[in-house]
Every structure is written in C-alpha cells, then in structure tokens.
Amino acid sequence: MTQGSLRFEGREVPIHDGDTVASALFRTGVRTFSRSLKSHRRRGLYCGTGECPNCTVTVDGVPGVRSCVTPAGGGMRVERGRGWPSAEHDLLHVTDLMHPLMPVGFYMKTFVRPRFAWPVAERVIRRHTGSGPLPRRREPARTTSRHLHVDTIVIGAGTSGLSAALETVRAGERVLLCDAFGVGSQVPRPRRDAIGALEAEARKEPGIEILEGYAALGVYEGPTVALASQDELVQVHPSRIVVATGAAETHEAFPGNDLPGVWLGRAASRMASAHGVPPGSRVVFVASTGEGLEHLLALVAAGTNVTAAVVPSAFVDRVPPAVEAIADGELVSAHGRGRVRSVVVRERGLERRLRCDALVLSTGLSPRDELARMAPDEPVEVVGDAAGDGDTPRVTGGHLCLCEDVTVHDAEQAWAEGFRSAEILKRYTTATMGPCRGAMCGRALTAFAAARSDEGDRAAVARTTARPPVRPATLETLAASVHEMIEKRTSLHETHLAAGAALGWSGGWKRPFSYGDAAEEYAAVRERAGLMDVGTLAKILIAGRDASALVDQVFPGRVADLPAGRTRYVLALDEAGYVADDGVLCAFEDGSYLLTSTSGGAERMDARLREWRHRLGLHVHLLDRTSELGAILVAGPRARDVLEPLSDDPIDAAALSHATHADVTVAGVPCTAIRTGFVGELGFELHHPRSRGPELWSALQSAGEAFAIRPFGLDALEILRLEKGHLYVGQDTLPDDTPAKLGLDRLVDMGKEWFVGKAALERLAAMPLGRRLTPLTFAGGPPDTDGLRGMPVMAGGDVVGRVTSAATSPALGRAIGLAWIRTHGGELPTDLRVGEATATIAETPFYDPDGERLHG
C-alpha cells in the first residue's frame, strides 16, 4: 500500500509501508545513489545499515543523509548531492579516467609551485568534491545540550545491548540505553523475531531510559560519553560503559567492488524481505558464514532469482535446489559499466564468468569496537558482536575505502613510497577517515598492511587509532553547549517581570527592553522623569596607594588630576591603540576610584586592570563590585524633584552638579549618586547595596508618581542615547577603531608621558584615518528604522560604509543614526544613500547641542 510520495529530482516517487528513502527510490529504478568523493564513480546501495557512504543523498536541503536508514516521509524533497550536470549523467566522471595522473596526495605534491597555483586548484577541487553543497537558506536549528548521570550506559540496542541493559537494571542500577537508530533496528532480518520479547521487557523496565536516534560519538575521560541526535547533544556521565554496537559486514576489496549492484547480505535481504524489492533479476551470492547462508535463504524465500551461490562445501546441502551451489569457490572480480553485468569466480583453479545484475556478499563481520578502543583507561566493557575478533577481509584490488575513494592501487603506491604501516597509510591516503569512520574499511586497511609486512612487525599491522566522532554529527549539534547562556540577573529581575517588562539578552544579562510602550517611556524621560535599572554596568573599585598611577597609565585621558567628587568619561585602549571599552571614572577622598563600564564587560575590564597592575608593578587593590552594587538611573527634567523628598542630603545643582558624585541616602538606602548624562537629561545614577534594590526602586516610583515617572528599557535608551550621539563600544565600533576614527580625540592626552596604546597612536597619527564614525540623518527611508542598522552606505554605486545604529528621533522628527564611512584624502564622500533613503552627514549631539538640559 502506498503512503503518499516523496519528490526526487523533479518526479514523484510513491512510498510504500515501512519504506526507507533508499527502498522507495530503488523500487522506482534508481540504481546510482551518489557519486564518489573524488573520482565521481557511480555508487549504489551497499551496506544497508547506515555505515557506508554510498546511499547518502540530500533530503530537504540537508546533505549527507543516509537514505538506507532514513524513513521515507510524504513530501520529502530528495536530491543526489554530487555530479555535474547531474548524478546520473556526471561529466566530472572524467576525473576517474585521470586517476593514474592523480596519485594519493597529488594535491600536496602537484600544486606546490608556483605558489599561486594552490589557491586556484583548491577552489576547483573544493567545488567538485565533497558531499554536496551546504544548505543555503535554513532556519538555524535550536540544538540543546544536557548532562545525564547514570550508573551504566549501554550503547547499542540490539540483542546484546538489550540483554546487557536488562541484566544491569536487575542488579539495581540505573541504565541508559541508546541507539544511533532504533531499538533492534540494526539486527539482521532473519534474527528479528527473537528480539521482540527482549525489547518489550526493556521498554517496561522503569530503571532503563531509552534514547533512540542518539549516536554515541566518543568515550572521553571521566568517563563521559557524548551522544548526538539531530537536535541535541547529551553528555552522559556513567560509572560503567557497555559497548554493544555490533558489527558491520565485512567489506572486501576486489576489482569492481564499488559497482552499483554489489550488495552486502544485510542490505539485500532487507530490500527483498522487508520492502519486497529483489536486489536484482539475476543474483550471484557469495556466503561464507552462517549469517550469510541465512541471508541467501531469505532472498530465495522472498522470491529473488538467485542463480548461483559461492559457499563453503559444508553449506552446499543447505543451498536451495534452484540455486547452483559453487562449493569452495572464490570471487575474483565484478564487471560492468555503471553497474554489475557479470562476475568472475574461480572454481577448482578455473575461472568462470557468471552473468548477473546483482552480486551479494556476506563473508563475515567487522566489529564496531571503536568506542571501546578509544578509551583504554575507562571502565568499558564490550559485549556481543562488537567484542568478536572479526573476520579478515580479502584485499585483491578495487576500492579499499569507499568514503575517501582510495583504491588498493593507491595504497600500493603509498606503500612503495615508504608508508609502511596501517596507521601512516591512513594518514597519507586518508583511507578510513571518511564518514564511515573506518567501520567498513578499517580492517581492509589493516589486512592490506598485514599482507605486505614482515611477520612479527606488530606496529605495521596494528589497528588504526580510534577517535571521536565514530558516527557523523553536524557542527550545529556539536556546538550545542556553546549556545547555553549563563543568565545574569539584577536584584530587580522580579520587579521587572511583575511590571510586565519584555526581557531580552544584553551582554549576558536579562534586561528589560521595554515595559510595553517604548515611545511613552522615551517621552517620560524627555518631558518628566524616567527610571532605569542600570545595575548591569560593570563596577570596579580601584584602591591602594598606586591607584592613581594605574588609572593614569591605563586610560589615555588626563585622569590623575581628577579631584575627589568628580567623574570623567574615559576610553580604554589596547596596546594597538584600538578602543576596547569605555566607562566613567569616579574619584574618592581616600584616593580610590570607582570605574563603571560597559554592561557585560566586567570580567574583561577587571582582567585588563589586573594585567596592567602586574606589568607596571603597582600596588593596587581591584575589587569587582558588579554583583554587589545595584544601580538605578533617575533621568529627566524632573529627576531632582523626584529625589528631593526622599533625601536629607543636598542634591541641588551646587552640591551635585554634572560630572560629580556624592554619597547620599535616598529613601533610607545608602547610595553613591553619580551625575551622568548618557540620555542627555538631568540624570542621577544611584549605586546602592544590591539587596536594597527593590525597596529603592519602589520608593522612587512612589515619589515619582506626581511627575508620572515611568520605568524605561533598552529600546527607549537606544533613541535617547542616539539623539545625543553617544556610541556603544562593540555595537558602533569595529575592533580596529582608534579614538580618532570615532571622533573621540578629546579623550586622549598625547602630552602624558605614557599610557597603554600611546606608542601605537603616535605611529597611527602619521597615517590617513581611512574611516570615521559619522552621524547621519536619513530621509525617505523605511518607516521602521531598525531596518537601517547594518545596511551598507552607498556613494555613487560604491559601498563606502555601514550603518551601525539607527532610530527615529521624536525630537528631530526624522531618522538618525551612526555609520562608519570610508574617507578619501581625509574627506568623507557626499551624496550618500542607504537603501531607499538618502543620508546626510550631521553634527552630534543631534539633541540639545549645548547640553543645557544636561546641566539642569
């Protein structure tokens, strides 16, 4: 019965019950599933268990999806990644004919000289190799990360894994059972029935947590096991690890072994029995193990026309009568153009050619024991097929490594060049380093080295080092924990939530962006009074006998003469003379300073000060008070009226003028009040003990009721500060901005004997500026000025800069912003456009240029 259809390169492919993407495509006649990595050889279905790279396709824009283990879904968009113009008719197949000209490592040898050749060659090679293009437009995935603590993790939910999990849970331990696919899904078909009972038991057991679709990537010290699913990274911390990852079928290397139509037993029997599609119309089967015989019988039972079976003489009696049994025969090679047409078999010393369109091999097992081998010092046990010795594959020719397109001939050449052990062959040829991570070819490579090395040369034949990840994972998943945000909160967090604030991330803090109406919040600050939580500011106390020497040398401005009670806006430069941060420095009677700087930058600033204290050998105490002090900004023409009834201390213009600070008690809370002007109005920053924040906030709100005071958030602040032309270091600056480029020369005193970055600024002074942060006004732009931020600034068809901040100014009635703009001969270009808008260079401050309101 069909269950909808998927779309494959422009045509509809019906989906039957239980179909994988591969079985649905194979049923409609698709035989070439991909093109090989380098030589663009045709590749067809091979392992059927999600190990080899042959069946990888692009599903809904995501490349590298193994179609043999991906359930088909209605509406899926499936394409083959590689090939030009298409995977079916791929002209790049010509690279296969050029193979003799491109020995292993050719790109390292061939494009060394002339030196310009490599970048060109690299571009060509990059375009024509790989797993297909990365998705162009895709919503960023929301990968998450978590930690799990269990007694035992069992990796692999096949027969042995389920048994191990049940045994462990009965001993009273908590067990995590994970499988890269699903419980029992990789168990060879003839043995499927036995697993049903085990699975039912395990699913009933409350002590077993089952994670399906979670691939174990590696075992690390600790021990820690990393599991990756499509959208989650799980770090498991067990006391014991049971590896039950089973085994892949042996990959034999013989001439023609990568032709479409060459199958491994599990893939063929699954295709015939589960999906009802015979792997071919004339099938030759090579079986040398009991499992192989089971696959042969399953194929015949499903009605597949198996014409001949090459089996050990012991199995001859069990080969069905309709199949010609070739006892103790030996497979020599497979032939055909584009797909298998015949195979050559050696029987009692004579070679025979058998016509066929499919060759199925089931000749042994290749244990998937990488997880156990990568962590010899961790408590790892291996059970089931993964613990077996495995069978040694024959290596006579053809493709040694399917993923990386390495032939036996390539390996022979490398051997002749002196790379004479499995490990260095791996490094030189990249065999085993592809998406199968050596599951298919690892043993073939070792067998190759063993056949050529002296007996007893154990280093030559040692298995190659197993390294994570043992299964493919996306970088998105691996980076999941990077996105885990550490949330900093001020003492007013609950207060903001209760007030209905929209909180967002800003510099590692959760901060209110608005309390519902940013325009009204703006108006309150400009016309009456506003209240803002600025407890997020970095606050560092600089004390000790050399405090003044440190600030004088770390900051480029004149600060040593800053009298107690005064404040000064300062820049912090790095040694290259680039602006790293800014802040406000307050000087105290006892010779100490309080530095407030950019929210989220406390650690950086603290580290900078500590480093220079050490390098200059100064006796200075540095105490980061960011967490300890809250801060509330009261700003607006009525700000003083709000504060006056709450304080007995003098806060009039004479006692507390602009750019000064004083210790005052407000509503019973001891505060350091700093007169600041970031928003361009009369403003008091009240720094107070963090625990007193909520009561101070509430007292200020009550006192401000008479003036219709409003709390305001970052959205209103953005407009307020832009109207004053104030910049945010980081948002409006580039990493190589000097004070001159930002128009902040006045904050640098080149007359000082020394400060951090002075030598660099002296050198840079002789050079043209190159670019300048420039205030702009816009006309005719989009109604939502948010869209202007980040837009290129154009002049006469050339990009000359970029908008760093933009907002619609209610005070000016037009859009304003800041942009960095390239200068030519020291001059800024004219006739600027930003998208649809025309931009005009302006002067800052846009608002209250004489600062009358600030000093109020």
């Binding site: 930690h147 603590h149 911390h237 885990e484 550490i486 949330e487 900093k488 909160r489 001020t490 003492s491 967090h493 803090w509 106390l541 004390a543 000790g544 006998r545 006796h619 105490h621 540095l622 105490l623 008070r625 960011t626 967490s627 300890e628 002090l629 003990p689 963090r690 625990s691």
Partner: protein, 140 residues
C-alpha cells in the same frame, strides 16, 4: 540524599599583602582566593579583621561585600555526589576550593557532608536552576 538551601551570607573581602592575607587564611570561613585576597564567610567582626590586617599592611582594603554573594548549600550524605554532577572540582574533606561549577566561577567551602557554594548574587539564580536540574533525584 542532600538538602539544598540558600542563604545570604556575611562576606568580608580582604585585599592585602601576602603576609597579612596569610594571617587571616586560617580563620573559620576563610576563602584564600589568591595570595593577596581572602574572603571571610561568616559573622567575623569587620572592625577586628581590619585591625588585624592593617597592623601588618596599613594599605590593606577590608570591605563588607555581603551583597555581592549568595550561598547555596548542599548538606547530607549525597551532597558530594550532587556536587560532582555540577563540577569537576575535587573536594577535600574539609577546606576551600574554587573553580567552575555549572560553568561559572564559584568559591566552595567544604566540611564533611556539607558543601557551601559561594556564588556572585547576579548568578545565583543560574546556579540554583542548574542544581535543581542536574541533581533532582538526589535532593530531599
């Protein structure tokens, strides 16, 4: 099992010469953060501390920083197991260690089955959430 509790501790920061810091490092609740910085957790008299330190280093800074810190305490036979889920720090039987706990820098005082985690107030909610998530079935 372990009991989780949260409290607002008294914390005094002492920034002084190595000699002065060493003098107070043996006090109960002392966190020798670096050779020239000690935090004292508990109700030590700040005046007494200042006198003791300034006798050796007149330029020392002794400051009440209680508001900057919150104490999350795990107490009980499962406390060390619970802590191990949050951090790779090795706990002594008794004493002070500092380092990453739930990816933030935390000062840890241990006494037998009691683990006191001194965390900056601004990060206290983050750590509390992580303890509750990671150690759920170990908490009473």
């Amino acid at each position: 099992m372990a009991e989780l509790s949260t409290s607002a501790p008294s914390v005094t920061a002492i920034l002084a010469s190595a000699e002065a810091c060493e003098r107070v490092s043996a006090l109960p609740g002392a966190c020798p953060v670096s050779p020239v910085e000690v935090a004292i957790v508990g109700d030590a008299s700040i005046t007494a501390l200042r006198q003791a330190v300034e006798r050796i280093d007149p330029d020392a800074l002794v400051s009440d920083v209680s508001d900057g810190w919150v104490l999350h305490t795990l107490d009980g036979p499962g406390a060390r197991d619970a802590f191990a889920r949050l951090s790779e720090l090795e706990l002594p039987f008794s004493g002070f260690v500092q380092g990453a706990v739930a990816r933030i820098r935390v000062r840890v005082l241990v006494q037998g089955d009691r683990v006191d985690m001194l965390v900056p107030s601004m990060l206290a909610a983050h750590l509390l959430e992580r303890i509750q998530d990671e150690c759920r079935e170990l908490l009473t």
